[in-house]
């Protein structure tokens, strides 16, 4: 039996001593040590303590997942520590409270550790003045071109200027002009006049990616962020710099000038380009996807994602998406078809004709019910969701079918990218749809078709002609039932073609390479008659097996979790936004 599912990603660390500090007069207990950007325990900083106290400290250069630089000074706060007498004991006020010695100078909250009894003040007139000063300084050479800047709406400079900025500039001198529209790399455009020199991008590419590609050249107000002349900023993670750049200096060539960010609807989802399953937000408007951005999940991708996965969304909106439920007109296919119907031009025969879901599903169900045991085979992609694969496994059990998935591998890296390019290899395995060693049943299926033993093939989301079951073999089948998203050689030959959905168009879960079960939500509507596979699979399973299930994804997931040992104990609700790790 399975072990209980767990949300823990690491063993619980040894207990860390707690200390009391005060943030704006409120006492709060904080650990003496906290994880730094690399996960190492280091003395808790003021900014971390303020975060625990739910007090916002404005900052630019500080990023919890990057080494500390302490260069922007936006996070300056005032503070005090218990005053000590000559005996090194705290001096008490007449009322018995500890006397606090206020520091005459402020400190940067991002790089200053807290000490027991420390008081941090983030809302004094002095702190406000310092923030105003820093902002005014940062804006001296800023072009103030928000109306044409892609960052507008998610810009820290804009946000803090609303809080601490002046409505009119006191700066009358000429601004320093720096390079604009700098082609920094294949996916990144840089506007040096907007850069506030926080070095986040430099630290990211150097310390997280290990590609020391960016730097600041020249001096003083001529400081300019750049790559070495002639060297493109080009690694598989460059677009993360666009996310962490607090201003609009670094922009994504793919996204710039496409859409104002405040018009985007953000949907929690998961990247499907490899088995890592980075958590993402899908930005869409009016059923069109404009971008993916990483969604922080420390158990999976932290705050990052790779450029390849981020940009691999355009296929979802392709014009040639499968939109209709089709039956094939030629061969011994369907009573629903119009044999050898002529196309509108009167020359070519129309290969497929459009039918309704109900008609197609009930005819498929009849055929499957009458299929002799062992005459059906199933190839279902490890890109389908857990729920879909589980429904397919029910069909498989009922029909006594042989089944498998198709493995997909490629180059991986040390940071995020997995060598497994299927988002749900573990799901295909845990539901028993994939062979123990994925792909080893494919030759058996091919043989079965060749010898005539297998007469019906069900394919979900794969072009089997590229995986050893060629056009000639498909031609021998009595019935070929195919569900897919985009056309390919297999969909061409389908007797029944059922248009499915991209992950962005449905809800469901994947189990990533580390066994984390993660759910994703629906961002956009599917095109035409396309339906989420789990919906029509549910109907099909009901028609074939007579077993009724749940009509909601929540109910379906919970039922699956009870049935599949590895998923025991999971519920749709307790997956939360960041998933749960199971034993695979």
């Amino acid at each position: 039996m399975s072990t209980a599912a767990t949300t823990e990603t690491k063993p619980a660390p040894a207990a860390i001593e707690k200390i009391m500090v005060k943030v704006d007069g409120r006492e709060i207990e904080v650990p003496r040590l906290m994880a730094d950007w690399s996960g190492k325990l280091t003395p808790t900083t003021m900014i971390q303590a303020c975060e625990l106290a739910k007090t916002d400290v404005p900052h630019y250069c500080y990023h919890p997942k990057l080494p500390i630089a302490g260069n922007c000074r936006m996070c300056l706060v005032e503070f005090g520590t218990p005053a000590l007498g000559p005996d090194r004991k705290p001096i008490l006020n007449p009322d018995g409270t500890t006397k606090i010695a206020k520091s005459p100078r402020p400190a940067i909250a991002c790089a200053t550790p807290v000490s027991p009894g420390m008081e941090i003040y983030t809302n004094t007139p002095g702190v406000k003045q310092m923030r105003e000063g820093v902002l005014e300084f940062l804006l001296i050479n800023h072009p103030l071109d928000c109306p044409i800047c892609d960052q507008a709406g998610e810009c820290k400079l804009q946000e803090y200027s609303v809080d601490y900025g002046q409505s009119a500039s006191r700066f009358v001198e000429a601004k320093v002009h720096k390079p604009k529209v700098v082609d920094l790399g294949p996916r990144i455009m840089l506007d040096d006049e907007r850069c506030i020199l926080c070095t986040r991008c430099i630290r990211f590419t150097k310390d997280i990616v290990g590609d020391d590609a960016l730097g600041i050249v020249n001096r003083g107000s001529f400081n300019t962020l750049t790559a070495f002349p002639g060297k493109a900023f080009d690694n598989n993670y460059t677009l993360n710099t666009v996310d962490i750049c607090p201003v609009g200096a670094l922009t994504s060539k793919d996204f710039r000038f496409q859409m104002r960010v405040w018009f985007l609807k953000e949907t929690r989802s998961v990247c499907t380009s490899c088995a890592t399953g980075c958590n993402i937000l899908i930005g869409s408007r009016e059923e069109k996807i404009y971008r993916y951005t990483p969604r922080e999940n420390d158990a999976v991708n932290g705050p990052w994602m790779c450029d390849y996965g981020r940009l691999n969304y355009k296929w979802i909106g392709r014009a040639d998406r499968l939109k209709d439920v089709l039956v094939r007109n030629v061969g011994q296919a369907s009573s629903l078809s119009h044999s050898q119907e002529k196309s509108e031009t009167g020359r070519m025969p129309v290969l497929h004709s459009k039918v309704t879901w109900t008609a197609a599903l009930s005819e498929i169900a009849d055929k499957l019910k009458n299929a002799p045991a062992g005459s059906v085979a199933i190839v279902a992609s490890a890109r389908q969701t857990n729920e879909e694969l589980w429904l397919i496994s029910k069909l498989k059990a009922k029909l006594g079918a042989i089944s498998d998935s198709i493995s997909r591998t490629g180059a991986g890296d040390k940071l995020l990218v997995s060598t497994d390019k299927n988002p749900n290899t573990n799901g295909a395995q845990l539901t028993g749809v994939a062979a123990n060693s994925m792909g080893t049943n494919l030759p058996k299926i091919a043989d079965g078709i060749r010898t005539g033993k297998i007469r019906t093939l069900i394919v979900f989301g794969e072009d089997v002609t590229r995986h050893g079951i060629g056009v000639d073999l498909l031609g021998k089948l009595e019935t070929l039932i195919v569900s897919d998203i985009l056309p390919n050689a297999t969909t061409e030959l389908a007797h029944y073609l059922l248009p499915g959905c991209a992950h962005a168009e449905k809800r469901g879960t994947f189990t990533n390479t580390k066994g984390r079960v993660q759910k994703f939500m629906k961002a956009v509507e599917p095109p035409g008659d396309a339906r989420p596979e789990w919906e029509f699979l549910h109907d099909l399973v009901y028609n074939v097996t007579g077993q009724d299930g749940f009509l909601t994804i929540e109910g379906l997931f919970n039922e699956m979790a009870q049935d599949v040992p590895a998923f025991n104990g999971l519920t749709w609700a307790n997956l939360g936004d960041t998933g749960v790790t199971v034993k695979t």
């Binding site: 020391d212 590609a213 730097g215 020249n218 070495f228 002639g230």
Partner: protein, 161 residues
């Protein structure tokens, strides 16, 4: 453009590097040695230095662009450096600089060192030469001049053959 470092210079550089606990610490000394030899530090020289010190070119490029004394382009045969820190500024450094630029057909308002087309003269501002009492002061190559009037400036230019 091919960039080659002669064997004796490379030997000198290797020796320099050996003085430091980590190679990166030798960056400035290596750049000085290269500039001493070639007169300026080209992009190829930056890449060569980075390879030599196990760094990325951008790391060396940051240094080269930070220090104005590290030259990113060939300089004139005669380098005229006018001090413009406070005392000299009050003592007429800007007028002196303007005077040189006017004489040599250079734009006094451009940022950084300006070199004549024939490559004979470079004029630039520098910071305090620690002779504030005799402002305005300047250097022509390694020679130092105090209380430089415009007439004296013309004399200095005249001496540059």
């Amino acid at each position: 453009m091919s960039f080659t470092v002669p064997a004796n210079l490379e030997g000198e550089i290797d020796e320099l590097i050996s003085h430091y606990p980590v190679k990166r610490a030798a960056s400035l000394m290596v750049l000085h040695a290269i500039q001493e030899h070639f007169g300026w530090i080209s992009q190829e020289a930056v890449e060569w230095t980075a390879r030599k010190l196990d760094l990325q070119p951008i790391n060396v490029y940051e240094l080269v662009t930070f220090y104005p004394m590290l030259r990113q382009e060939p300089m004139g045969k005669y380098q005229i450096k006018v001090c413009r820190t406070l005392s000299c500024a009050l003592g007429g450094a800007y007028e002196l600089h303007q005077h040189f630029c006017g004489k040599l057909g250079l734009d006094a308002h451009k940022h950084g060192p300006q070199t004549t087309q024939d490559g004979k003269f470079t004029v630039e501002f520098i910071e305090c030469l620690a002779s504030c009492g005799t402002a305005p002061v300047m250097m022509c190559n390694d020679d130092f001049y105090e209380g430089v009037s415009h007439a004296k400036a013309d004399e200095i230019l005249g001496g540059c053959k």
